[in-house]
């Protein structure tokens, strides 16, 4: 019986190819949508995933890793002194405005880190090297941002918050699809970028008992005055702010204990593992963008189109071979034997449509990654899942064909 299903399928090659095309369409849509979903979410937390910190110390009001109130830099020094902490390094993530030579304006996320540090380094550097970031106002950007940022390449200059800055290298596959363009730079440069748009002053008040209480007040500097407010690059001081403090704990230390020690030493701060920060970031983007729903609709559309095409093909195939099904029935084949023929056809379609569909997805993923920096994440697990969906889709599509087979009257065999 095995050969009957396969041979009936191959008997009408054009129809078989149409079925394959329909299945490939569904496979590609589902795989790509799933891949974009997973690639998108992964990209949003790449920076976190790449950092080698055991703990991220951030404000307890952090929404996700890019959107969080700052910490006072003095906290950094405090954390460095805690028991169990081997190393603590700051991360400064100011937002900025990018002004290209030709006057194009873009938003930018500056990633300020210690180029000599150990807990965070840019990765996948395809041109230049991080040591060059020691020079003030040098940046690394992702290759796929060259065009959006209207800049030609390494060696070219543009303004970040009115500070002329030089691209000294390029990275690849480092950009979050959801965020503004990243610029990797030294802490000192990031500090200068972050303070250009603000001037800070102390505002002190004395209460009824004569106690003096002071707050640091940051005031926005009007954009036309940014150039005047320009800061020289200088090292971090206790009065500055940082976005996160990355911590590596000592080998002998207990993570939970260090975490508790940090949180009790710094009120208003929370120490999370990188995985927790990444998860919070991915959840933020998932919920914020509704991307799961959007892409899920796309994938569902693929499945619906696939079901329609495969149903139609199976139904017409059964209609064409109705006499054969009648003959089998007359000969005494059980209903399940007949269903088996239809289902086996459906499974052959699934397998032969899935394989080229997946191959196509693989090329699509290569292409989008290299040309647009959009990661379509295809993993073995997601491939298996898509195969399961394909199989279910094809077998489900056999429903109407099976209905038709069930209704075949074996007495037709004696009718001319």
């Amino acid at each position: 019986m095995a050969s009957l299903a396969r041979k009936n399928l191959l008997e009408d090659i054009p129809r078989f190819l149409v079925a394959q095309a329909g299945i490939m369409f569904a496979v590609v849509l589902v795989t790509v949508q799933l891949g974009i979903y997973r690639g998108f979410l992964k990209s949003t937390a790449l920076i976190v995933d790449e950092a080698e910190a055991d703990l991220w110390v951030s404000s307890e009001d952090m929404v996700y890793f890019e959107l969080t109130p700052s910490l006072a830099a003095e906290n950094l020094f405090e954390i460095q002194g805690l028991d169990g902490v081997e190393l603590a390094e700051p991360l400064l993530l100011p937002s900025a405005q990018w002004h290209s030579q030709s006057g194009q304006l873009s938003t930018m996320k500056v990633i300020g880190f210690d180029p000599d540090g150990e807990l965070f380094q840019p990765w996948n550097i395809i041109e230049g090297n991080p040591e060059q970031l020691d020079e003030p106002f040098s940046i690394l950007i992702d290759r796929t941002n060259l065009r959006p940022l209207d800049i030609g390449g390494v060696g070219e200059v543009a303004d970040i918050n009115s500070i002329p800055s030089t691209v000294v290298g390029l990275t690849e596959g480092t950009q979050s699809i959801a965020s503004s363009a990243f610029a990797f730079t030294s802490l000192e440069s990031a500090l200068a970028y972050s303070t250009t748009a603000f001037s800070t002053s102390l505002s002190c008040q004395s209460d009824a008992d004569g106690n003096l209480s002071c707050d640091r007040v940051a005031r926005r500097v009007p954009q036309e005055n940014w150039a005047d407010n320009r800061q020289e690059a200088r090292t971090l001081q206790a009065s500055d702010t940082v976005t996160h403090v990355l911590v590596r704990i000592e080998n002998s230390a207990n993570l939970e204990e260090v975490r508790a020690a940090i949180e009790s030493a710094i009120p208003g701060a929370r120490a999370l593992t990188g995985e927790q920060v990444a998860e919070r970031t991915r959840l933020y983007w998932r919920d914020r963008t509704g991307i799961g729903f959007t892409l899920g609709m796309g994938a569902a559309l693929g499945v619906v189109v696939g079901v329609v095409i495969v149903s139609q093909i199976l139904y017409s195939s059964v209609s064409d071979h109705i006499k054969e099904f009648g003959t089998l029935k007359a000969m005494g084949a059980s209903d399940w034997t007949l269903y088996g023929v239809v289902i086996e056809q459906a499974m052959w379609m699934a397998v032969t449509g899935y394989a080229p569909g997946t191959a196509l997805c693989w090329f699509i993923a290569q292409w989008t990654a290299s040309s647009m920096g959009i990661v379509v994440l295809i993993t073995p697990l997601s491939s298996v899942a898509v195969f399961g969906i394909t199989l279910a889709m094809c077998v489900g599509s056999a429903f109407f064909a099976i209905q038709k087979v069930t209704r075949v009257d074996p007495a037709i065999v004696f009718k001319a």
Partner: protein
């Protein structure tokens, strides 16, 4: 006679051995059949009583529209009569459920059709193997048995031909091989020579008769074809749904 012709390599089935001389393989009692046309019932068969002796080849003849195909379908368990009952091999098949009937046909009846009803996508050998496959016989045993059966119908060298590469007579011989390969006790055929020229029609029916006699198979065959009456042990004439004589 019949039993003596069984080759020693083939096991005679117990049913056959136990069958007394006048044993009837096919018995129909008081069959009546009418089709519904709108709110009218159109009678097609009336008061049909017949029996076919084991190992006999019986022809069912009569003018067009006399109800031959309808009667054959009822006797084969493909159609339920509106009245009466059918016993095959001593079993009242009129009382069987659809699934039981299907099983009964699978185990006991081989079919031969006017239009051959071969599976066009399969080779001659695979067409014959299919009948074994349905009975759960697969692999080398099925292939060997199918090949041997094709050789018996003289088509040993056409095993890998597809039906479209066979002549009408050859196709019908493949169909005979398919009908007989699983050693059914009954073969039912509706106008098996209608699509063949008279020479090959007769030759093919001679072959069917020979093989059926070797195996002790009971054959019931509807035909219009007066040139094959010589292969029959007996003949039933049907006219307007009534048996005229046998």
């Amino acid at each position: 006679m019949t039993l003596l012709n069984v080759p020693p390599t083939r096991n005679a089935t117990p049913a056959r051995l136990n069958c007394p001389e006048d044993c009837r393989t096919i018995v129909a009692r008081d069959i009546g059949m009418s089709y519904k046309l709108g709110d009218r019932r159109v009678p097609v068969l009336r008061d049909i009583d017949l029996s076919v002796r084991s190992g006999n080849v019986k022809l069912l003849m009569g003018p067009s529209g006399s109800g031959k195909t309808t009667l054959l379908s009822i006797l084969a368990g493909l159609l339920s009569p509106t009245q009466g009952r059918v016993e095959l091999l001593g079993e009242n098949i009129t009382a069987l459920s659809k699934a039981q009937l299907s099983r009964f046909r699978l185990e006991n009846i081989g079919f031969i059709f006017q239009g051959f009803n071969l599976f066009p996508a399969l080779t001659a050998l695979e067409n014959v193997e299919l009948a074994l496959d349905l009975r759960g016989i697969r692999g080398k045993e099925a292939r060997d048995r199918a090949q041997a059966m094709l050789e018996q119908v003289g088509l040993g060298d056409k095993a890998s031909n597809q039906p479209r590469d066979l002549s009408g007579g050859q196709k019908q011989r493949v169909a005979i091989a398919r009908a007989l390969v699983a050693r059914p006790k009954i073969v039912m055929a509706d106008e098996p020579t209608a699509a063949l020229d008279s020479h090959s029609g007769h030759a093919v029916m001679e072959l069917l008769r020979k093989l059926a006699k070797e195996e002790g198979v009971t054959v019931l065959m509807v035909t219009h074809d007066p040139r094959i009456v010589d292969i029959a042990d007996s003949i039933i004439h049907l006219e307007d749904g009534i048996i005229q004589g046998s």
